[in-house]
């Protein structure tokens, strides 16, 4: 097989801290190389260097025989390298079509050729089986649709090397399957793919080789077929992880959150369920099932049209999120960049955001206390940051997610609404987060967990309610919680078997 890319001894530091230590990477024609590692291992940084977004402090890059200097993304794209970014970067005000053509608009004497663009957009979206009208604004798309548009865009560059940084972190299983088909097709056409993911169970389906990074070092490179998931995990975290879904002796007691006939037009209908103290209740469903809308309505980011919410046997009438927080409810939102974090603020400022008021000394910020609490959380969740004063915008994706968790855990909530809590989080951290959820419920707290990874719900939930197109279609419990049962309830029935 032909070697088409070599990265040699790449070093990179940010403000004096080295995050890549002489890293090597080889890529062969027509292969899928899986790049895995813990949060903050340096995967995205390495790929940003390849894409010309970051400049290495040392090291060489060869494309084929030739050494290249990649000093901006335009050059990388020119040389046939394209990337699906972990941190999605669509322009919300623009349409899908405009986003796909940013920087390479088709034109006739300086005028945008919208007809041609529209036609190509349809074609590309069609190739990926996406039914999104090209004129939809990006801001009106769900996260999973946004991610699919990003994937479409990267593929449409027809590049020789395609970098995918966690492409499946926010898309549904059906879309994942489709993406894999496309990856296999691209592979056949001689395109090489670097595939970054925290979902290790995906790798055997697509990857030819797997390269593991930890703390800015390459730990191992191997043929995928010769490496078990267990070995990969061990290389990643540097120790044996026996069980991602730890055991839990929780004691389910009285109802703590009751939702009765909650309605929101166009989002969900007549939703009724009860969450008990000490319980882990999962909500499963496909994209667009209305799960995110449901929890954000319970948390009163949006007001419901009708229906009731009861907390601790008492009817509540929330008018804004702070009312919900006062009743000891926390929502760990789905999109950390948009709803979770202030990227310009540092770890401590973000972590204490919700409790500043409570720890304040007469309206004044209590910095020593905040710093103490933030440090405690950093330790508890093993957040990798240079210090609690590091801007969260500079943290790796998974560590940003942990900061969001820290922020909500500090409010010491009794009811935790988790909307995709493990998105983009590495296996080790995932196990830690589940352990944490377990500890919470064992102390009588209640957790409502939305997850698109059914495996995860199977692994941890005491009970799972399934939503489909805004309605609760059923509930599974104990032994009945299997992927098949959930899937059966989650797929729309009426439409001659087609999923979507």
């Amino acid at each position: 097989m032909k070697n088409i890319l070599q990265m040699q001894d790449i070093c990179k530091s940010f403000s004096g801290v080295e995050v890549l230590h002489s890293v090597n990477l080889d890529l062969y024609e027509g292969e899928v190389l899986a790049l895995v590692g813990e949060n903050g291992a340096g995967k995205s940084t390495l790929m940003k260097i390849l894409m010309g977004i970051e400049q290495p402090n040392a090291g060489k890059i060869f494309l084929g025989e030739e050494e290249v200097k990649l000093d901006n993304p335009a050059k990388a794209l020119d040389l046939g390298i394209a990337m699906i970014h972990q941190e999605l970067a669509p322009i919300p005000e623009m349409t899908v079509e405009e986003n796909l053509f940013i920087g390479r608009e088709l034109s006739h004497f300086g005028f945008v050729d919208s007809r041609k663009q529209a036609q190509l957009t349809k074609e590309w979206l069609g190739n990926l089986n996406l039914r999104i009208p090209p004129t939809t604004k990006m801001q009106d798309l769900s996260i999973s649709q946004t991610q699919m548009v990003e994937i479409t865009k990267a593929i449409s560059y027809n590049s020789k090397i395609l970098i995918m940084d966690e492409p499946t972190s926010a898309i549904t299983e059906a879309e994942v399957r489709h993406l894999f088909e496309i990856i296999n097709l691209l592979k056949k056409n001689g395109i090489s793919i670097i595939y970054i993911s925290h979902k290790l169970q995906e790798l055997p389906f697509i990857a030819d080789r797997v390269q593991v990074m930890r703390d800015g070092h390459i730990i191992s490179v191997a043929i995928m077929a010769e490496k078990s998931e267990r070995q990969i995990v061990r290389d990643m975290v540097g120790r044996e992880i026996s069980n991602i879904y730890p055991k839990c002796d929780n004691n389910i007691t009285e109802p703590i959150l009751e939702v009765k006939h909650l309605n929101k037009k166009g989002e969900f209908e007549d939703v009724t369920f009860t969450l008990h103290a000490g319980e882990k209740l999962g909500i499963a469903g496909l994209m667009g099932a209305g799960r995110t809308e449901l929890v954000s309505t319970i948390f009163c980011v949006n007001r419901p049209d009708s229906g009731e919410v009861w907390v601790d046997g008492e009817k509540v009438n929330f008018r804004k999120p702070s009312d919900a927080i006062k009743k000891k409810i926390a929502l760990v939102p789905e999109d950390r960049k948009l709803m979770g974090l202030n990227l310009a603020m540092n770890v401590q400022e973000n972590a204490t955001m919700c409790i500043d008021k409570n720890i304040a000394k007469f309206y004044f910020l209590n910095n020593p206390k905040g710093s103490l609490l933030a440090k405690e959380m950093v330790k508890k969740l093993s957040i990798k940051a240079h210090s609690t004063k590091q801007e969260v915008g500079n943290l790796s994706g998974g560590n940003q997610q942990k900061v969001v968790l820290a922020k909500w855990l500090l409010t010491e909530p009794d009811i935790l609404l988790f909307d995709e809590p493990t998105r983009g989080i590495d296996v080790g951290a995932k196990a830690e987060i589940f352990e944490l959820i377990n500890n919470l419920v064992m102390n009588g707290k209640a957790a409502l967990i939305i997850s698109s990874e059914m495996q995860e719900l199977v692994g941890i939930a005491d009970r799972v309610i399934v939503m489909c197109e805004g309605k609760i279609t059923g509930e599974v419990k104990g032994e009945e919680i299997t992927q098949e049962n959930i899937m059966a309830l989650a797929s729309p029935k009426n439409k001659n078997g087609s999923i979507n």
């Binding site: 804004k320 202030n342 400022e349 240079h386």
Partner: protein, 336 residues
């Protein structure tokens, strides 16, 4: 794989890392770059203009800068939340008229009434701006541009274009006295600056200002009442415009409905030079104070050189671009 043990200790936040001396950190240079610009500017002026580095002249610079300074500090708060207020100059004029009217010999109210009225009038305009922006959803630029026009109209209509004279002696003393060698205006500026500094850096509300400007949606999810924060900020801005109106009336010893035209641009310029981001969430009161001083030093220098005010405007435009250019540069450098 042999270094498994060693890699066990993650680089989670360690005590050690936080003890880098502040003056060595990149943060230090980033946050003080604009201060060094001011120092260099002063040195250049002092060397080339003997008249510059004299006590009366320096005091004069401070005095001249004070009015713009108070407005700029208010605007810093507004810009931090991701908004803008164009109406400050016009609101100032209404407050100026109100204060002058009440303290003139016709009405003869005491000074304190003039203050209350001026600041109150400003706060009401701020309330209107804030309500329109936070609760109705007008874009800040639009809302405050409308207020800019309307408030100026109110100031002009109130006396049918005529100025108000014969203010009480005690009222005139407000802006024209000297305490411990410094003009009273400078004290007002300093007090406002210190209060705003404490508000933004030390209080919970201050953090909310940054939170709202940095990421409004995340702020909302965190239980921050985004609308209320904005409303309060515009009211503070209005009150400060009102305060400047009162000080202005005293300083020019009359109520003049055309006073303060174009002040919003000077104030915005000072913020921008001081590193306040126009898109919200970044900047500081100290930066703005330095921005105000830079503008003051430059226009004073030109005055000494005898450059006409028309040329000064041209230079001011260039200085703004230069300052922002340096700011952008220092920001991008800190990452590499």
């Amino acid at each position: 794989m042999q270094n498994q043990e060693k890699d066990q200790k993650h680089n989670t936040a360690t005590e050690q890392n936080e003890k880098v001396p502040f003056y060595k950190s990149s943060q230090f240079w980033k946050s003080t770059g604009i201060f060094w610009a001011l120092v260099i500017l002063v040195i250049i002026m002092a060397i080339s203009q003997p008249a510059f580095l004299t006590k009366p002249n320096l005091i004069n610079i401070l005095k001249q800068a004070s009015i713009t300074g108070i407005l700029a500090i208010g605007l810093t708060l507004v810009l931090l939340t991701g908004g803008i207020d164009l109406s400050v100059g016009s609101v100032l004029a209404v407050a100026c008229m109100a204060a002058a009217f009440l303290t003139s010999d016709v009405q003869g109210f005491p000074v304190i009434v003039g203050f209350i009225a001026g600041i109150g009038v400003g706060a009401i305009f701020g309330l209107v701006n804030g309500f329109g922006i936070a609760y109705i959803g007008f874009a800040p630029f639009i809302m405050t541009m409308a207020t800019l026009s309307a408030a100026r109209g109110i100031a002009l209509v109130s006396t049918n274009n005529r100025p108000i004279f014969n203010l009480s002696r005690t009222f005139i003393d407000v802006s024209n006295s000297i305490y411990f060698g410094l003009p009273s205006l400078v004290y007002y500026f300093l007090i406002v600056a210190v209060l705003a500094y404490i508000l933004t850096k030390k209080t919970v509300f201050g953090k909310w200002i940054y939170a709202v400007g940095g990421n409004q949606i995340a702020a909302k999810y965190s239980g921050i009442n985004v609308e209320k924060v904005k409303l309060i900020i515009y009211m503070i801005m209005g009150s400060l415009s009102g305060l400047t109106g009162v000080l202005m009336a005293s300083r020019i010893t009359s109520g003049n409905p055309t006073v303060g035209e174009g002040y919003e641009l000077d104030a915005i310029a000072a913020c921008v030079i001081g590193g306040v981001s126009m898109s919200g969430g970044a900047g500081s009161v100290i930066g703005t104070v330095i921005g105000v001083l830079i503008l003051g030093v430059i226009s004073n220098g030109f005055d000494i050189l005898g450059i006409s005010s028309n040329y000064q405007r041209i230079m001011k435009g260039l200085v703004i671009l230069l300052a922002v250019f340096i700011d952008i540069r220092s920001r991008s450098r800190k990452n590499s």
